[in-house]
Symmetry: C2
Subunit: 213 residues, 2 copies
Amino acid sequence: MIRVSILDDQYIVLNGIQQMLADNTIVQLTGMYRSKAELEEGLKVEEPDVLLLDIRMPGEDGVSIAEWLSEQWPEIKILALTNFDTTQYVTKMMQAGVKGYLLKNTDLNTLVDAIRCVYQDEQYIEPGLKEQIVSESLQLKKQKGHIPSLTRREKEILRLIVREHASSKEIADKLFLSLRTVESHRYHLFQKLDVKNVTGLVAKALEMGLLLG
Amino acid sequence: MIRVSILDDQYIVLNGIQQMLADNTIVQLTGMYRSKAELEEGLKVEEPDVLLLDIRMPGEDGVSIAEWLSEQWPEIKILALTNFDTTQYVTKMMQAGVKGYLLKNTDLNTLVDAIRCVYQDEQYIEPGLKEQIVSESLQLKKQKGHIPSLTRREKEILRLIVREHASSKEIADKLFLSLRTVESHRYHLFQKLDVKNVTGLVAKALEMGLLLG
DNA sequence: TTAGAATTCAGTGTTTCTACTGAATTACCG
DNA sequence: CGGTAATTCAGTAGAAACACTGAATTCTAA
């Protein structure tokens, strides 16, 4: 039997999973934790094969927990179990060492299936999201050709413009740069994003989600 | 005993609630539904005293379901049970006829308490959110006093700036106005919105939803 | 280690914005 | 009808933005 633990701050979810797996012959629930601290204690006593992990945790976020886990307990396969049906988090979680990504509106069969998958070191991603990821990446390459690649500095300056409405002078002061330098970066931003003034810059940045990465 | 039904598209939540209320002597779970259609069928057979309602449902949203319910079955007290800890949805749901608003990371005692409240026709709102609502409404009255009222022309010009990234010259040409006129309107916008450059203007306009009316 | 990218900064104009004051001409509300 | 708000426009002037070219360092990845 596959030994599974779960980390989620909601009693309801904990109880729900417990109920679903109660009489299961393949999967055995060996631990239920409501916080990272509880989990840490629990792992000292009993190490599961698979851990169900909720992304949204107040304070601690799922990504950092996943990173911490896969470093400290690399043997444990992590299966993200979450409400977010956007592809946005999937890649982040995968990079953080998660082996599977499952939505919470799942049924017993899918749940067990996903657990078995990650237990066997196979990837499991919610089918709907998998498709979405593929179509998104295709669309991205087709539609734009490419997302303009901005350098670290350019992004930093773009962020100050968009988020703090800073003038070139203010940016220069804040970053200890010459006014000319800032204007230079700014000029390059204009070229890369094909706009002719800050207003366009702000719009384009928001539209393309340039400040996320 | 208070008869309670629940509508939620997630098996996990359904099971979780079932488990939590299993041996309860005050509350009795009489129905579990995964969609509006199922609920509709179920209500014909057995009408509960209280309905636990999830806001986020694919397709059908919680607000419209709540509205529909309080019209068709006004006797049923609705208790919203949701993940959203923003005040944004609370007022909407309350207007839609919901009697209580509870977050899903609740424990058994709170849940039963909330159910009992709404059963007795009392309002129950998540304490944390209640506070937040109060402080927000206070802040609103203190900080802004009012949403700056823009004139027709001002809104028109603001729209051109935000949506088309137009310069004053371009706006002047488009509206057959003198450059000076446009700059004058622009200056008034800056004053009314208390910003010092276009970037701030765009941000404020979007933030305050000034282009909607 | 070496080419290419990134970062930094200056020079030189032109254009646009920002900050006001003041005032004439509608427009609208009571 | 009368007054307040809205719209229009001009003048003045300094600040900032915009449009490049060029070039010296410094990072960085092959």
